[in-house]
């Protein structure tokens, strides 16, 4: 039966897209085919509104073993025959509706992207954005998302080692849940797998969980604005089973070792449709698929439901013909479904049968990104709110008389305060690789078992900066990630990004998108950290408007040995405290200005890419020369929060002086970029200062022998009292 335009539009296709499908097929598609195109050509799968600009990002580098977009995730060379596979992905809309399952399946999905390439995940991170914490709905969302992430990650057995959480009004209806997974694989043993399919006659298997009606149309759901009615889309949210995925992981890695795998791809968005078409298009072959052979969770599933189902914990695997029994034995051992549902064909069409009847027949290549999927050039215009930002005058903000009180409020803001209520619910130590627990650093450092190496991993994005200046904010997101890696003793290698924006058909939103990409690209070039892949999440907006543009950066750095690692805690009383980089008269866009002074519109803080690179180069050199004992970058909350965090981690107070040339609130709470607080043994201070050739620096004071915190000779109380306020702020709010 032919599909109608009306049906196509209800499925989320545009009129011209329906016409294009007719042109591709040379006939009017039936309903099943139309449904397949609607998900494959949704923003989520096709990147139709973003690919033009994504292609401008630097995607080459000598350490990249797989180029961006070629596989499910990026693969970089970390030396000694090992590779690192990593990626970040959003699960924003499902989490907004059903926070527990939404977040849980986000974690499950990103891990599958990693092990489908043959890598064992060794660390996960997540970047979360919520509305104001005193809102009951935010509390419900936060509790659900954290429980969901913990539920999946803890059972799956990969440590959650880091991440970030911000609380801003703009995320009230549309929270952001971005999950990142980092895995390792022995590339020199040929253990990586490609998401490809070739060799006519080779069998096609579906392995893992049975297929149900959950998550049908999830990709299309992710490609529309969220609203109060979105609750009616609940079936579009998938349900996760981390135990099944744990077994799937072990079985897949065991299968890969046998060498019989031609290609493998996990089933995420658009399930069977996406995996069959992407693998076939990549391998320039086709497939015959018998849908009646697919194990299902419920009876009487229609072909289009099976083709679109986003049931979790499934993989599509093509193996060499004749090796079916070898494969079956491994999946039997792990008690996992493993069913041959078709075979590879030389003819490059995908033919799907149900009980012998042909239900869909489409060219694989026509469905996919880089093939027949549409590519759009969207208009953009400078946002009107820029005028309000330009009006901001720092002189209008009077420096508060009681800075200690301001600082005390600042450390209890949920964006700044300790996230221990959150991270204590995550197993952060399984795998015995995470060195962060007992020796914290700006980016968690995870050792790679079987090598001397370790990886430094981080996610970063201050979206208020991106809102204020998308270009500069995009650069800062990359720079901050690199700074965190460097402060931990790592050399930045590559990034993955999760681009969370509003509706791309809004020219002001698209302006944010285009300029954030430009900024990111420039910073990636500077730090030699190419983009390995990632995810675009548009339509993050509600009746209240779009969220802040939030291009979350996930970065990986390499430490040749754990002896290269640098930690953030103050070590020894009497050590000198320095700032590397220049303190500036700048309160722009700070937590202080926004949440204490309630100024919503101000320019992005000071940032200069060359200056940043010089600071990072210097810090890395100081670490190698063993001239600093701690390093911690200045970010949200400014210098005071940075000092306090190093002090709390070390259990030692500090005594510092401010600079008479800089307004005190800017000195203590300003967020001008490219600054790192370090501590130095007094005997080494001359050597240390001699290394400061290319960067400005200033001595701030000393680490105390006791818990006193002293600013300009005035007692600011005891460290433990600050720590108590900092540690319990979120817990107290959630208890209300």
């Amino acid at each position: 039966m032919q599909a109608t335009l009306d049906q196509a539009i209800k499925l989320g296709l545009r009129e011209e897209e329906f016409e294009k499908i007719k042109e591709v097929l040379g006939r009017t598609p039936n309903f099943t085919e139309t449904a397949m195109y609607s998900v494959m050509w949704s923003e989520h799968c096709s990147y139709k509104n973003s690919i033009k600009w994504l292609k401008t990002l630097p995607r080459d580098g000598e350490k990249l073993l797989v180029k961006a977009g070629e596989e499910n995730a990026g693969l970089v060379d970390i030396g000694d025959g090992w590779g690192c596979v990593f990626k970040i992905e959003s699960h924003n809309h499902p989490s907004a509706i059903e926070p527990f399952q939404g977040a849980a399946t986000g974690v499950g999905g990103i891990h599958r992207d990693i092990f489908t390439m043959g890598a064992r995940p060794i660390a996960s991170l997540n970047s979360l954005r919520f509305g104001k914490l005193d809102n009951p709905k935010t509390k419900w969302l936060l509790k659900g998302v954290v429980k969901g992430i913990g539920h999946y990650g803890n059972c799956f057995g990969v440590p959650t080692v880091g991440g970030e959480i911000y609380f801003e009004n703009c995320y009230q209806t549309n929270p952001l849940v971005n999950a990142m997974s980092v895995g390792v694989v022995e590339v020199n043993k040929g253990l990586t797998v490609s998401a490809t399919s070739h060799g006519a006659g080779n069998p096609v298997f579906i392995v893992g969980a049975a297929t149900g009606k959950d998550g049908i149309g999830g990709a299309s759901f992710a490609s529309a604005d969220i609203s109060e009615d979105s609750i009616n889309d609940l079936p579009a949210v998938q349900v996760g089973d981390p135990f099944e995925e744990k077994k799937l992981l072990e079985a897949c890695l065991e299968l890969i070792k046998t060498g019989v795998v031609i290609g493998m791809q996990d089933m995420g968005a658009a399930g069977i449709t996406c995996s069959t078409s992407e693998m076939s298009a990549k391998g320039e072959h086709g497939m015959i698929i018998h849908l009646d052979k697919v194990p299902t969770r419920q009876s009487n599933m229609k072909p289009w439901e099976m083709l679109l189902s986003e049931s979790q914990e499934r993989m599509l695997v093509v193996v060499e013909k004749g090796k079916e029994a070898e494969m079956q034995a491994i999946f039997d051992k792990w008690d996992i479904h493993c069913v041959q549902i078709g075979e590879v064909t030389k003819d490059q069409n995908l033919k799907y049968y149900m009980d012998g009847e042909l239900v869909a027949d489409v060219p694989a290549e026509s469905m996919v990104l880089g093939g027949g999927a549409p590519v759009y050039d969207r208009e953009y215009t400078e946002p009107k709110y820029f005028q309000e930002i330009a009006k901001f005058n720092a002189e209008s903000i009077i420096v508060p008389s009681d800075l200690k009180e301001v600082a005390y409020s600042l450390v209890q803001l949920p964006t700044i305060a300790s996230k221990r209520w959150v991270y204590n619910q995550y197993d952060s130590m399984v795998g015995t690789g995470n060195t962060h627990t007992n020796a914290p650093s700006d980016a968690p450092v995870v050792r790679v078992h079987g090598t001397k190496k370790a990886l430094a991993v981080t996610t970063d994005c201050n979206s208020r900066y991106v809102f204020a200046d998308p270009y500069k904010g995009g650069m800062i997101a990359v720079a901050e990630a690199a700074r965190n890696i460097v402060c931990s003793g790592g050399t930045p290698v590559a990034i993955t990004n999760c681009l969370n924006f509003g509706n791309p058909y809004n020219p002001e939103v698209y302006y944010q998108f285009v300029n954030a990409i430009k900024g990111m690209g420039e910073a990636c070039l500077k730090f030699d950290t190419p983009v390995t892949g990632g995810n675009v999440s548009f339509y993050n907006q509600s009746e209240d408007g779009p969220v802040y543009p939030t291009p979350t950066i996930g970065m990986v750095g390499v430490l040749e040995s754990l002896t290269d690692k640098m930690t953030m805690n103050f070590k020894k009383p009497g050590d000198l405290i320095y700032v590397v980089g220049l303190n500036r008269n700048d309160i722009n866009c700070s937590e202080y200005l926004h949440h204490i002074k309630n100024v919503t519109h101000s320019p992005a803080p000071y940032f200069d890419l060359e200056e940043e690179a010089a600071v990072q180069e210097t810090i890395l050199r100081l670490i190698k020369l063993k001239l600093i004992f701690s390093a911690h970058d200045i970010s949200e909350g400014g210098l005071f929060v940075t000092l306090l965090e190093s002090a709390m981690a070390g259990g030692l107070g500090f005594n510092i002086s401010t600079d008479a040339n800089i307004r005190k609130d800017a000195f203590l709470f300003g967020e001008a970029q490219s600054r790192v607080v370090v501590s130095v043994n007094p005997d080494l201070h001359a050597l240390f200062e001699a290394e400061m050739k290319n960067v400005p620096f200033a001595k701030l004071g000393t680490i105390n022998y006791n818990q006193d915190i002293v600013v300009d000779g005035e007692s600011w109380g005891f460290l433990n009292d600050w720590k108590e306020a900092y540690d319990t702020a979120i817990e107290k709010q959630l208890a209300n």
Binding site: K147, G150, H151, N154, C155, F156, G157, D241, P242, F243, E244, K246, K247, E250, K333, W334, D335, Y423, N424, Q425, Y426, D427, S428, M429, V430, G431, T432, N434, T435, T437, N438, A439, R447, H449, L562
Partner: protein, 230 residues
Amino acid sequence: MKFGVIVFPGSNCDRDMMHALQDDLQQEVVPLWHKDRDLSMFSTNDCIVLPGGFSYGDYLRCGALARFSPMMEQVINFANNGGKVLGVCNGFQILCESGLLPGVLLQNDHQKFVCKNVFIKSENNQNVVGRAVGDQILKIPVAHGEGRYHADAATIETLQKNNQIVFRYCDESGQVHIQSNPNGATNNIAGICNANRNVFGMMPHPERATSDALHNIDGRAILTAFTHMN
């Protein structure tokens, strides 16, 4: 002397346990698949370890399914013949479910999963672990949602009287009180042994504290204890 580490389908601390025993403590380790039923290569000098994880996803009570696995039948025989058995976290839950240890592990009193470093101390020197640990206060991580040890009053009294309580949660200075209890366990109990002192269960993870790379080696004393004769 050697260790056998059982791998259940949802074990996720099996590799950590093997790394700790092999790499950090230079012990011989044999991985054991839960569907197998051959323990003939083990003598009572050896030790079978049930590692942490979510053996069968823990959708039913933790450990409730794992106790029925073919390998567990053999472990029960092995233990009853005097062989040493250690269950950590989910392994402890399985030992309680299988009746090798008394009591049960309930959902944490705060109803959340908890992962952090805690401090524990040995209760007495009437068992091989207690003798090895002595009066040290050990910093060992916990990571569980269902770790609240519970047993009826008579059982607790018996455990106490027989010196079967191996570890209690305490603070850094060794004080046992409600603030040092991460899950609401009865009497701050973190680990116990059976009356014969050859089967041990504990919620904290000693295998996560045996490596200099992780800046904590407090777990070595616990695992090394099992290389000694009973």
